[in-house]
């Protein structure tokens, strides 16, 4: 079964959000990386770029597929994970750790409350595979 850490927020597009003050750290879930397969390329935005909720901020490519990554919440990019340029496989091996993608300064920190909890996300992925 896919790993779904308790302390994170989740989107139905399979992104996770970790809240750190007014900053949201965003990546894709274990379930998503497993579905994609070996990640070979991650395209990320530049620091300072602004995104509204549900807007694509980058893309992640495996050998076989391309998938856009969406920010579940609005904000301005404070930092991107530069190390993914050389080690995109971190998205597979450590999706919730070194595979993080962007740190976003949230426009509206209350927005995270509308995301799925770990339990809700787990139910959601179960329903999707059935």
């Amino acid at each position: 079964m896919a790993n779904v850490p308790e302390d994170l927020h989740y989107s139905k597009d399979h992104e996770w959000v970790r809240v750190d003050g007014d900053v949201a750290i965003i990546g894709i879930t274990d379930y998503a990386q497993n579905s994609l397969g070996d990640v070979v390329y991650v395209e990320l935005p530049k620091a300072g770029e602004e995104f509204s909720a549900n807007e694509p901020f980058g893309s992640v490519e495996s050998v076989k597929a391309v998938s856009e990554v969406f920010t579940p919440i609005a904000g301005v990019v404070a930092q991107i994970n530069e190390s993914l340029a050389d080690e995109p496989e971190a998205v597979n091996t450590d999706p919730y750790g070194s595979g993080w993608m962007v740190r976003l300064k949230m426009s509206n920190p209350g927005e995270v409350d509308s995301l799925l909890t770990a339990a809700e996300y787990e139910d959601f992925t179960k329903a999707e595979t059935e």
Binding site: H14, A32, D38, S59
Partner: protein, 400 residues
């Protein structure tokens, strides 16, 4: 050269859908129950394969080790592929060779017993209905091995061109399983299971023989750019054969044989510069445009499309299939536009990361005036122009 039938290769062909939402990737993994299955379907599931709809077949796209590991293991040791979905047409009779020679582009009369030939079924325009292997079992007995998703179309075409020849045609696709064992260790592994002296089988030759006591055909052919074998056997013995080959090849060890899915099959054949039907060749591309002039034997006598191909050869092709390497950050994918001097001049037909070469490569049709090694091109990767350069194919060639 071809072999598998990736007419609607899920990974690449569905990219425009994948890109909309990550979610779609996951939906594609659930396969509908009405899909056709090879005799190894449950074996794949037991191994934890991710199954996809591939041209109407429920096929493994990758196993838990992942596409990159499957690809590398095949280059360095051995990979085992279920290609039972491919179609087989049996042609028997005194005029078998003459008949097949009239509907295919290569020269069947050059074959001897126990030899195989890469060829194509052609339209009157010289375009490609399918690429295939022609096996000569005897002077009056040929076996045609065609792509999976084109089997029905090919079968109808072949039947409709049967004009009073003294031949019996039979679609025997369901009778056979076909396993491809590829890689530098393939011969050592397979030899453990058979008395057939494998070292004596030359490239593109085959021999009837027993593998683990099962009567079949052992052919030194493949679609990976490696040495290796394809074994044809009765469909009901597929699982025994599959498991025995995995055991003989010490599967599970880091240097043992690894089961490989369609994704690795695609990246391996692309590195080896082999065309894929439905991507790089189809009924809109001629054999000459696809660099397959070497299977157009214009002097062998009449065959469907000969006149058109002879004319095109004389006049010269207007576009050509070329290989390219991406030189900037980005991955070219199927159907993306090729841009030269700001103009959209062609399309990528196969584009992918190349796991062994660690480059991003592809095949594309470009106007003949640009079809030169070293030509700088750009690929429109979802709105962003990414630099690339035309290079020699095959991208990968194994050391002999």
């Amino acid at each position: 050269m071809l072999r598998c039938g990736f007419t609607c290769y899920y990974l690449i062909k569905t990219t425009p859908r994948l890109i909309t939402r990550a979610r779609v990737v996951i939906e594609l993994t659930a396969t509908a129950p009405q899909l056709k299955q090879t005799p190894l379907n449950s074996a794949h599931r037991q191994l934890g394969a991710r199954m996809v709809d591939f041209g109407g077949w429920d096929m493994p796209v990758q196993y838990p080790a992942g596409t990159i590991e499957e690809h590398l293991r095949t280059r360095n040791h051995a990979g085992l592929f279920d290609v039972s979905h491919m179609g087989e047409v049996d042609v028997r009779g005194a005029e078998a060779v003459a008949f097949v020679n009239r509907i295919t582009s290569n020269d069947v009369s050059k074959l001897v017993d126990g030899q195989a030939q890469y060829s194509a079924l052609t339209t009157p325009q010289g375009t490609v209905i399918d690429d295939l292997l022609v096996y000569r079992l005897a002077a009056d007995h040929l076996l045609l091995v065609v792509n999976a998703s084109t089997t029905e179309k090919d079968w109808e075409w072949i039947k409709s061109h049967h004009a009073g020849d003294s031949v019996d045609l039979k679609n025997v696709s369901a009778d056979y399983c076909q396993l491809a064992l590829q890689g530098p260790d393939a011969q050592t592994i397979l030899q453990k299971l058979t008395d057939v002296p494998l070292a004596e089988i030359k490239y593109y030759h085959f021999t009837p023989g027993r593998v683990d006591g099962i009567d079949g055909i052992v052919s030194r052919t493949g679609y990976t750019g490696e040495d290796g074998f394809e074994v044809y056997a009765p469909a009901d013995r597929a699982e025994q054969l599959w498991n025995k080959i995995l055991d003989a090849g010490d599967t599970g060890s880091p240097t043992g044989v690894i089961p490989c899915g369609l994704a690795a099959r695609n990246t391996l054949r692309l590195e080896a510069g082999m065309a894929l039907y439905g991507n790089d060749i189809d009924d809109t591309t001629t054999l000459l445009e696809a660099n397959l002039g070497w299977i157009c034997k214009l002097d062998k006598g009449d065959f469907t499309g000969r006149e058109a191909l002879a004319q095109q050869k004389q006049e010269g092709v207007k576009r050509k299939l070329v290989g390219f390497e991406v030189t900037e950050r980005g991955i070219a994918r199927d159907h993306q536009d090729v841009v030269i001097n700001g103009e959209r001049v062609g399309q990528v037909t196969s584009g992918s990361p190349a796991p062994f070469l660690k480059k991003n490569i592809g095949l594309a049709y470009v106007p003949i005036e640009f079809a030169n090694v070293g030509q700088q091109i750009q690929i429109d990767v979802r709105g962003k122009l990414v630099g690339a350069q035309i290079v020699k194919t095959p991208f990968y060639k194994r050391a002999k």
